[in-house]
């Protein structure tokens, strides 16, 4: 059967007014066009089949002619006629060429990437660094206390013990030993704020610095360390963060770049998951640089205090042995450089001919380890 439409009913909208015109349409391949006529038989328009297009994705057929300045529309009244027209006209679904849109996409795409890279890696970090210095040390100390209170609340949540007692360990001999260690490392070095170094009663093997010159060592770390020099290495690393004002800088930096990534991924299904992961990588890369700097600072400190840099390495070696190391993809999202690489760098600093000092006497070391005992 020849596919053709003869004098079929349709609705025509001329694109000039909202009036609707009942028309008759005729079309076939032989005719090579779609003729649109009034009910009285006057020709309104003749659309070449090669220029005939259909509006996409709708269930109800809407036809138009490509390049029609009036953008008139035609809808066949009966579904059968619509099907026949779909058979006759080959190019119904052909899309309009993108034309200048391609260039626009390229230009704005490059602009968007440049803006993001510039913001995240240049403007926000440098702004954060400058603003961090503007915060007076006393204020930063108070911020640090707030942060520390939050950390304490989170880490001691649900643990036994009285509500009001602080988790800071303070027995006189232990504190004295800690002071000796700190003084050996610091000597006459200048810091932006008054330092405050404390041990807290928690089994985690960890240490951290909060804004305002506060360094916290956790009881678990003292128990894990085999020599006081190992603890001194960790303390020197945290002091490096303090000297570089890292806690404040990184907090400001994270605040600045927080929203930007979720912007890019928008409301895509699961976009939040991807945005979260991407932000993790980004923040970790910021902090990894800070960690590496703190390591260099710590090794310099150990060297000038004539303490064995190797202690830094042995501690990481043992951590690897007992807890495994982060590798490959995981290293990217971890905030610390892989332990093995850190240990290696420490070992490079060892001077084979030197005789290193000890940071604490055996008695002092025992006192320090017992700082959390009553």
């Amino acid at each position: 059967m020849m596919a053709e439409v003869t004098q079929a009913r349709a609705s025509f909208f001329d694109g000039k007014t909202a009036g609707k015109q009942a028309v008759l349409i005729t079309s076939s391949r032989a005719l090579g066009a779609l003729r649109i006529e009034t009910v009285e038989g006057h020709l309104i328009a003749e659309w070449p089949l090669s220029d005939l297009r259909q509006h996409q994705d709708g269930a109800h057929m809407v036809l138009f002619m490509q390049g029609d300045p009036d953008e008139a529309r035609l809808t066949p009244d009966r579904l059968d006629d619509a099907k026949t027209i779909a058979l006759i006209a080959q190019d119904l679904h052909q899309r309009a060429p993108l034309g200048p849109a391609v260039k626009k996409m390229a230009v704005w795409g490059a602009g968007a990437v440049a803006a993001l890279v510039l913001m995240i890696f240049v403007i926000i970090p440098s702004l954060a660094n400058q603003l961090a210095v503007l915060i007076p040390p006393e204020r930063e100390q108070r911020i640090g206390q707030t942060v520390l209170a939050q950390i304490e609340g989170a880490l001691t949540f649900g643990q036994d013990g009285e509500e009001d007692t602080s988790w800071v360990c303070e027995n006189p001999q232990g504190t004295a030993a800690l002071d000796v260690m700190a003084q050996t490392l610091i000597r006459d070095m200048e810091f932006p704020y008054d330092l405050s170094i404390n041990v807290v009663d928690h089994e985690m093997i960890n240490a951290f610095a909060v804004p305002g010159g506060q360094v916290i060592l956790m009881r678990g770390l003292l128990e894990e360390a085999e020599t006081p020099e190992e603890v001194a290495g960790v303390l020197a690393h945290e002091l490096g963060h303090v000297a570089n004002r890292d806690p404040m800088r990184l907090a400001l930096r994270a605040a600045g770049s927080a929203g930007i990534l979720s912007l890019v991924l928008g409301d895509a299904t699961g976009g939040l998951v991807i945005a979260g992961a991407a932000e993790q990588v980004l923040n970790a890369s910021h902090t990894r640089a800070a960690e590496a700097d703190a390591d260099v600072f710590a090794l310099d400190m150990m060297e000038s205090a004539n303490l064995p840099p190797e202690a830094f390495a042995t501690f990481f070696d043992r951590l690897i042995e007992e807890h495994g190391d982060v590798h490959g993809a995981l290293e990217l999202v971890s905030s610390h450089p892989a332990s093995a690489r850190r240990a290696e760098r420490a070992r490079d600093r060892v001077d084979q001919d030197a005789t290193y000092a000890r940071v604490l006497t055996d008695d002092q070391w025992q006192d320090l380890r017992a700082i959390c005992a009553d």
Binding site: G58, R139, Q150, D267
Partner: protein, 408 residues
């Protein structure tokens, strides 16, 4: 031509068609890491607009994925700079503000202040969100046609933002009692700047007419207050009082939820009945039923959650297997691989959930509203002429980046 012709709204969208379309475009969006979402949105709108047929004539959506993508890139360039700097400055100001409450030991107040600072960042976004919403509406109208004629809206996003912020403050200060004022005035602001061809829309009526549906948001609060009075006056035991509070509390809660749906739906209908087009040449009628919408919502939510739940099973199985592999000391590669599969399965299940929500909740409710809305005096349509095309290079990029789009 017949006098007083009425065009009844017709909606011809099919559950299976929209589900498949939403599912296919959702999958493509995941596979392209979110970039396809601009094309997905355009395709779904094209389908819904085409199925929306006042008087049997389909609406037409002419927005494209390409222009949305470009608009998004434009928005990114501007927002990256704005957001990065504003958030950083606010964090800095926030840290300094902590000092106002300074004491030697951090107090609850300080911790609360720090959390509050985080939310101030959101407040800084609010003006931007209103601007984005107005622009998104303007873009949508400019890409909508019916009977060959374009819709349009005037450029007035800043004026809209200022009013929206103002009415938000009024609503908060009045403890919500003046919410209808904001609803009406903002709708009037938008309507009075909207066009169909060369004909302008106008919003008639007064803001006080919205109190009729708004009463159902107030009643639950009156119920709770009433329960309080009963407890104080009557000599019932504490147990009896608690019983009364629980029963009245449940009734009030359900009434409140239904009241919100009722208010949104009926305030739309009341305002639609008071809208006119082309100097009152055309009018509208709208009479959607709250009961029907709530029924559709409950049934749809049940169906959608069943389907979504089923779609999560494969991801769950993979996670379980991965745990087994890990426990039996399997290789890191096997664990990592199943982790990737599980994340993919999770994302695909989310796409299934979004498609089910569209097919079983959004479309039926939208269809009901369309079918219960009519254009009156349609014989006057022939006098309306075409308007020129509004060029909007940023499309709805800001709304997309800030994630403040509507249901579709």
């Amino acid at each position: 031509m017949l006098p007083n012709r009425t065009l009844h709204g017709r909606y011809t969208g099919q559950t299976s068609s929209i589900f498949m379309l939403a599912l296919t475009t959702g999958f493509l969006t995941i596979l392209t890491l979110g970039i396809y979402r601009f094309w997905a949105k355009s395709r779904i709108r094209r389908y819904i607009w085409n199925a929306t047929q006042p008087g049997g004539d389909p609406m037409e959506y002419t927005g494209t994925g390409v222009e949305k993508f470009i608009g998004f890139l434009i928005a990114i360039v501007i927002l990256a700079v704005y957001l990065g700097i504003v958030q950083l400055a606010l964090a800095f100001a926030g840290f300094n503000m902590l000092d106002l409450f300074a004491t030697d030991t951090p107090t609850e107040a300080q911790i609360i202040a720090q959390i509050a600072v985080t939310y101030i960042v959101l407040l800084a976004l609010l003006p931007l969100i209103y601007i984005a919403q107005y622009r998104a509406r303007r873009y949508m109208l400019s890409r909508t046609r019916w009977r060959g004629l374009r819709f349009g809206a005037e450029q007035a996003s800043v004026g809209y933002m200022l009013r929206a912020v103002g009415y938000l403050i009024v609503t908060i200060l009045s403890l919500g009692l003046l919410a209808p004022l904001g609803t009406f005035k903002l709708e009037k602001y938008k309507t009075d700047r909207s066009w169909y061809g060369d004909a302008k829309f106008q919003q008639g009526g007064r803001w006080t007419m919205l109190y009729k549906p708004f009463v159902h948001i107030l009643i639950p609060f009156a119920l709770i207050a009433g329960a309080g009075v009963i407890a104080a006056v009557s000599g019932m035991s504490p147990e009896q009082n608690a019983g009364v509070f629980i029963v009245i509390g449940i009734v009030a809660y359900i009434w409140f939820l239904v009241g919100i749906v009722h208010y949104r739906l009926q305030s739309f209908a009341i305002m639609a009945r008071h809208k006119t087009l082309d100097n009152e040449a055309l009018r509208f009628h709208a009479e959607p039923m709250t009961g029907f919408v709530i029924g559709k919502y409950i049934v749809g939510a049940l169906l959608a959650s069943l389907i979504t739940g089923a779609a999560f099973i494969p991801a769950g199985v993979v996670v379980f297997l991965a745990t087994m592999i890990a426990e039996s000391g399997g290789s890191m590669i096997a664990i990592g691989f199943s982790g990737v599969i599980a994340v993919l399965g999770y994302l695909l299940a989310l796409a299934v959930g979004a498609a089910a929500t569209m097919a079983f909740i959004t479309q039926p409710i939208y269809g009901h509203i369309v079918e219960n809305t009519s254009v009156l005096n349609a014989e006057n349509l022939a006098a309306i002429q075409q308007r020129s095309k509004d060029d909007m290079p940023d499309a709805e990029g800001f709304a997309d980046a800030l994630d403040v789009g509507g249901a579709f």
